[in-house]
Amino acid sequence: MAKRASPEVNAGSMADIAFLLLIFFLVTTTIETDSGINRKLPPMEESDVDVVIKQKNIFTVLLNGKDQLLVEDELMELKDLRQAAKEFLDNGGDRTCDYCSGKKDLASSDNPDKAIISLKNERETSYKTYIAVQNELVAAYNELRDARAQSLYGKSFKEMEANYNDVNWPGNKEKLKEQIDQIKLDYPQKLSEVQ
């Protein structure tokens, strides 16, 4: 007698079961890739002590109910906001900032440490416009930090932060952290959301 061939296992049901599981996971799950603009809210002030800040060190950005942008009391388009903010932050009016490349206008900010951007909005402002303005102001800080990191360390600030968060990066993390903190100290992000 020749050896009898064993019957083939019916795999038709296995595909059905796998399809059911697949569709279950497709319907009940979502690919979560949340990202956004991080912000720190100011704490509730117990004291009413007012900090005296010279007006020239404050870059006022106001959004009205029609989503119009008022920068230092002048109407401005959104696409010009980033450059205006960079010029304000990089002004170096009191000449203590040796890395600033601005005009050193005495009517504008003294140095990046004293420069503050104040963002106000009305209740009717749309959220989309508010986020766009926040985005442009953060971009101004990020571009200045990138330029500073490029001149100091030959890499962009974004690249340095990505390396720091990369677990496979082979370099010295402590030294990199010091470098990142130095860049943040040169251009501190002082963005005030006024209520």
């Binding site: 979502t30 956004g36 809210l41 209740r123």
Partner: protein
Amino acid sequence: MSKFKKKKDGGVPAVNTAALPDIVFMLLFFFMVATVMRQNTLMIENNLPFADQVEKLDKKDLVMYIYAGKPSTNYKQYGTEAKIQLNDKFADVKEIAAFIAAERASKREELIPFLTTALKVDKGANMGLISDIKQELRKVNALKINYTTKKGSVFGRD
């Protein structure tokens, strides 16, 4: 004499489907690994605005979500004004403090200083509601917030 058959027996052989379960299982495993269970069923419109200076949000267990937007088509009876959704039900502004307290109680104690509140707000909402939300967060000292957005240019898109 009749060594050669005159007719073919049977029809076309069955299509071999042995590879089909393999492919479907590969898809299944990908979706099991790459996705997370939906946290909340949204009752509001939630078209997030665009921004390009974004940072990735931390791990899921360090984030508390506050949704805001006008009610979606299935919930039109709740009006046309933007509303806040906490977990899976509509909420008032004054309920945010209780929501934050409940979320903190549900986390491990050492994680509480690192919690971030993610504001997932529809781009059409007004800033008045968001200002109220931020004021409530300040009262309960939940100061780390994230304006959750889609990644992309802020110009020229609607």
